[in-house]
Symmetry: C2
Subunit: 479 residues, 2 copies
């Protein structure tokens, strides 16, 4: 198979972005569909991304004082129904268990779409006194939402995520937690996934069902659409009052606690694919790439094979601090392997041929820029470490440039419509009323992604109704 043919199996990134997305996922063996509608198999190469994401996020959760736990998959319908807005938001997309073993169940059980209800009920047993607070718990698990239209990683019936659920003595503390965790997500997504985000508050219309207020970080995909990368919710006393999470405070009064929740999911893998990929396929940031370096040996004769193979293995041993894959398959030519590993997004490729061996050097090729350089075998580990950090930084810088190049301001509805049609992020004034938000959505298919923390506070007038606004908000179409 020639390289051209190999790459030609992927739809064009620039012309058929949506098909490109599905093609690279199949070809790179990130995921596969199963027999159950919308349920995805995450293959080892894709799952390795999730493992790296988990590890890096989990470290941050623990550094901010959180512990992991595990709560049940199944939630009785009556429990889910306790918080009115919450059940209204989630019940339409729940998968229901109605039979256990040989018996019909007296009450049907929801497969968790999210765990506020089951965790709230549990916390009510654990919290008695202000001394029991705060509770700072996270869980890594699967959740299920019965989706009609599904897309790999972005919208699947079952998906993997983490959900933090915390309980606090005061609203102030809870609010601090909500913003702290939003900051943790922003730091993680920008510095590990190399994806710049815009942090802000969701509108009433777009907030989590049951929350007092929701905050999000929003990222721009390669086609200019927005993806909500993570959310953090101030649940106020909504859940503590319905689930009876009460405590005796220092002043001996019984009070309802203040709760929060926050989550990020396997959607992040979709974001990684869409933000960094190009015509040749995937590009993974070194910090989460399944393989950071692939070694491809080059030989023509058996003698060369022995010599190159030995050198390559020596190089691999030197690089024990990195995630390195040695591609010694002899049924494929080096050129074919180059294309394959480019398509699969490995940040650095090391080529070793007889001439490299003779010169005690290797040829290193960057996936993102295709820049090629010869590096001495001695001290390679340190040189590659620097290079990987450089790639990581450059990917973030490139994505920042793309975001800023594709963000515009609009001062009228036609301008907003035009900008949205051109797949931009658009700053525009909004009066704060849901009816105007919905009107804009109907006309442009764009939603308010969030009310960014960092925004121009200059007053203006709503693009829809002309009434006063206290500053522009961020409109975009979204996944």
């Amino acid at each position: 198979m020639s390289n051209e043919h190999f790459v030609r199996n992927i739809a064009s990134h620039d012309e058929e972005y949506s098909r490109w997305y599905t093609d690279v996922i199949y070809k790179a063996q990130l995921a596969d569909w199963s027999l159950v509608h919308g349920c995805m198999v995450i293959r080892p190469y894709g799952f390795s991304l999730w493992e790296n994401i988990q590890q890096l996020l989990d470290k941050r959760f623990k550094a901010t004082g959180h512990q992991n736990a595990y709560f049940p998959l199944l939630i009785p319908e009556s429990l889910l129904a306790k918080e009115a807005e919450h059940v209204e938001g989630f019940a339409p997309e729940v998968a229901w268990v109605t039979r256990g073993g040989q018996d019909d169940l007296e009450e049907r059980l929801a497969i968790r779409p999210t765990s506020e209800a089951i965790i709230g009920e549990t916390y009510s047993k654990w919290v008695q006194s202000w001394r029991d607070l705060p509770i700072l718990i996270n869980q890594w698990c699967n959740v299920m939402r019965w989706e009609k239209v599904t897309r790999f990683f972005l919208r699947t019936t079952e998906f993997l995520w983490q959900e933090g659920h915390t309980v606090h003595r005061t609203h102030e503390e809870a609010r601090e937690e909500v913003l702290r965790m939003l900051g943790v997500y922003q730091d993680f997504v920008e510095n590990e996934l190399a994806i710049p985000v815009i942090a802000g508050q969701k509108t009433e219309q777009e907030k989590f069902k049951g929350a007092l207020e929701t905050f999000s970080i929003e990222a721009m995909m390669g086609d200019g659409k927005a993806l909500q990368a993570a959310t953090s919710h101030d649940l106020g006393q909504h859940f503590s009052s319905v689930f009876d999470i009460k405590f005796q405070d220092m002043d001996k009064e019984m009070k309802y606690a203040w709760t929060t929740s926050w989550g990020a999911s396997t959607r992040l893998i979709g974001a990684l694919i869409m933000v960094h990929g190009d015509e040749s396929g995937l590009i993974f940031p070194p910090n989460v790439a399944p393989y950071q370096v692939v070694i491809v040996p080059i030989w023509r004769s058996d003698e060369e094979q022995a010599q190159v193979g030995a050198a390559a293995q020596q190089v691999q041993r030197q690089l024990g601090d990195f995630r390195v894959h040695y591609d010694g398959r002899d049924e494929y030519k080096p050129g074919w392997k180059f294309s394959e590993w480019e398509m699969r997004g490995v940040p650095l490729r090391i080529e070793i041929g007889p001439r490299d061996v003779a010169a005690r050097q290797v040829t290193v090729v960057r996936r993102d820029t295709r820049e090629k350089r010869q590096l001495p075998m001695d001290g390679l580990s340190a040189t590659l470490g620097d290079l990987l950090r450089e790639v990581q930084g450059d990917l973030l810088a490139r994505a920042r440039t793309f975001l800023s190049d594709n963000t515009v301001a609009a001062s009228s509805l036609p301008e907003l419509q035009e900008a949205i049609a051109a797949r931009k992020f658009v700053w525009a004034h909004w009066c704060g009323r849901t009816q105007c938000e919905l009107a804009v959505k109907e006309k442009t298919a764009a939603t308010i992604r969030n009310i960014p923390f960092e925004r121009d506070k200059a007053p203006g007038s709503c693009v829809n109704c002309g009434q006063p606004s206290t500053g522009p908000v961020l409109f975009a179409r979204s996944y």
Copy 2:
């Protein structure tokens, strides 16, 4: 609350083992029941054990060439039914999803009780050629079996586990994998959990439903009953033929592949509790203990508190390589804390009082032996590392002694009955027929745990029927 009172809240380990088990789980905050029958909440202290188990097992899986992946939670009934013995074994205990969102489903979906079916179906798409083999994949996930009688960690409706699923070109390779993974489990359980096990083959009656042959490691709990700690299955071509996992071999012939599966679950936490605990509560082996060391400061005056607190924090900083908890709560007296952390099983306690500070030393108390020694603050990290290794080794040695002290041989059915009633592991001859195995089970409530690899090969006669046997097998009651 006095220490006596605190400990008295736990039933006696020696007299009421089963109540002791439940009591320590509640009191140590390892787990809690939820509103759904048999579904358990694993609390942070208990979940930390699972995280440590996961990390240590996962490292071994990767070192033996396996990668992680994720397969769907839901399995269509028709798929589960493909392997006749398999569905017969699992269907009676399946939870069924019959409704998704607003619609009744055309076919009901099983929440996975185990994933051979869904994974087999997926593998059939991935395997075409001998070059695609072996497939060496593991997944960490939740599974569900609708149990009537449940017990924390040992038998819960939902539980967490890992399940390895591999595909091979030849039966020989598959068989090697099955035994390799059994060896991995044995190494892990003995060296990390400090639990000695007996490895062997399950009888036809006790094997995994759908397997050609099943192998297990069996451990002895504190009450002399057996617990199956992990299993590894040679699935032969049973699943590859029903799920059509075929490949073109080197000789160009199309052949069915050979598959294996192997698993270990949160039951291991139950084993940890039952093997090592005593009258005062839990004892965790250092390699998996949530906290390896707890530091309890001791003071009488504010002045002492400041001085001791500063020294304790300095000690804590020195011990960055270990899992250390500093218990600075001022609402409890040191004696109360000692009892609590003994009950919660922390291997080493460090006490620091004013006299220790003056002498630049700490007092270290072992949980398992209660031995107390003074150690200099200088070089404490190295000293404690040695001590933790010593504790780890001593716990395994103690459990080995208990196992050997409670293992006997029986040469007749009355002898076997007596030994089983005395809660022993019993070596006895068996003719190999299921009818005799079931007859013994009816009379003694004991099953054949396995046919150990390491056994006396001397012939004898079956304790039930008197017919020839090729060597004794291991009988015991079990969890």
